[in-house]
C-alpha cells in the first residue's frame, strides 16, 4: 500500500465514521415539523435530498431556479406547512427580489446553503457569488448563520429553525465548503 492509498483509505474511514450531519439535519427538520422541502440540487445536499424524497410525510419539490423555492416556502406557510429550501451558494443571487415577499409579509424562511467559492475552490467562476453570498442575504434582511463543523449541524439548524418558525424570521444556514470537502472531479468517470 503506497502513501496516497493510505491517505485515501484514512479519509474514507473518517468520512464513514464521522458525524452523519445530513441525517442530523433531517432529524432536526422532522423535529420542527417541516413537511415541505424544495431544492435546486447540489452534491453537498444529495443525502438530505434522498432522505426527503424517501419520506412520505415530506412533500419534496425540485425547482428550476431557487427563487421558486422562496415563493413556495411562502405558500407553504400560508397553508400551514413549515418548509425548508436547499440550494447552493451560486443560487442565492437568484432569490434577492423574491425575498421581499417574505420580508413584506413577515413569513418565515429556513434555507440551507452549501457553500462554493470559499475553500479550496477549483472553479474560479464560483468565487464571485460565493464571496457575495452572505451580503446577498443580508441586504434583504435575512439572518445568516454558519455551520462549520459536522457535529454542530443539529444545534445550528435547530437554532435557525426556531428563529424562522417561532420568530417569523428569514434565516439562511451557510454550510461551509471546508466541511463539505473538496469536490471530487473524477468520481463519476
Amino acid at each position: 500500500m503506497d502513501d496516497s492509498a493510505t491517505t485515501e483509505s484514512a479519509t474514507k474511514e473518517a468520512a464513514t465514521t464521522g458525524p452523519d450531519w445530513p441525517l442530523d439535519i433531517y432529524r432536526t427538520l422532522k423535529a420542527f415539523g417541516v413537511s415541505q422541502i424544495s431544492y435546486v440540487p447540489d452534491a453537498g445536499h444529495s443525502r438530505l435530498i434522498e432522505l426527503s424524497h424517501g419520506d412520505g410525510a415530506i412533500k419534496t419539490t425540485v425547482l428550476t431556479t431557487e427563487e421558486e423555492g422562496v415563493a413556495l416556502s411562502a405558500g407553504a406557510w400560508l397553508g400551514g406547512d413549515r418548509a425548508a429550501l436547499l440550494m447552493q451558494s451560486s443560487g442565492v443571487g437568484n432569490c434577492v427580489n423574491m425575498l421581499s415577499l417574505l420580508a413584506s409579509c413577515r413569513i418565515p424562511l429556513l434555507t440551507l446553503v452549501t457553500m462554493r467559492g470559499e475553500w479550496a475552490e477549483f472553479n474560479p467562476w464560483q468565487i464571485p457569488m460565493g464571496k457575495a453570498t452572505p451580503q446577498a442575504f443580508e441586504i434583504m434582511g435575512v439572518t445568516v448563520l454558519r455551520l462549520e463543523r459536522p457535529e454542530d449541524a443539529a444545534e445550528v439548524v435547530s437554532a435557525a429553525a426556531s428563529l424562522a418558525y417561532e420568530s417569523d424570521q428569514q434565516v439562511a444556514v451557510l454550510i461551509s465548503q471546508r466541511m463539505l470537502g473538496r469536490k471530487k472531479w473524477t468520481e463519476t468517470r
Partner: protein, 197 residues
Amino acid sequence: MARNFGSLDRRQAVQTLLADRGDLLVVSGLGSSSYDVFDAGDHPANFYLWGAMGGAAMVGLGIALARPQRPVAVITGDGEQLMGIGSLLTIAAHKCTNLSIVVLDNGHFGETGMQISHSGLGARLDLIASGAGIREVTEITDLKGVAEFRGELHNIKDGPRLAIVRIASGHVERVLPPRDGVYLKNRFRENLGLAVT
C-alpha cells in the same frame, strides 16, 4: 397603441370565475390581476401579491401542497407568469391535483405602459404549459368558456391545470386591495383555522 389581443372583459371574466367560490383559495399575481380578484369581492381566502413578480404560481403550489383537500386557484397575468415560466415545469412535475392557474392574457405588460409582452409577440403559453407537462391546458375566448372552467376550478382530482383567458387590453380602472402583507398573511391563515400568534 395597444393592439387588441382578446375580447373578454377581464373584470367580468374574473367575477365569473369566482362566483359561488365556496372553499376556493386564491392567489393573485402582481398588477391588474390583483385588482380584478379584489373587484370580484374581497375575501380572507384571497392572497393578493403586490410584489414577488413571477412568484404567484409557486405561492399557489405551496398552498396547494399544504391544503390538498382545498381547491387552489392562481389568477395572474401573462407578464407575471412569463417571469416565472420555469415554475410551470416545477408544478407539472409535482402533479399537484388541486391547483389551477388562470393566466389573464392580454399580450401586454399592462401595469407598466402597455408594452407588448412575449405572449403578444407570438409566444404560445398554452404550448409551453403543455410542453412543461401540465395535464389540462385550456384556451378560453368567451364568457361561456370561463363559466365552464369555473366548475373545473373546484375539481381537486385532475389538476394541475392551466387556462389562458384571452382578455381585451383596454384600460380598466384600478381597484386597490389591501397592501399590508402581514395583514393579508394573518387573515389568510386565520381563515384556515391557524392561530395568529
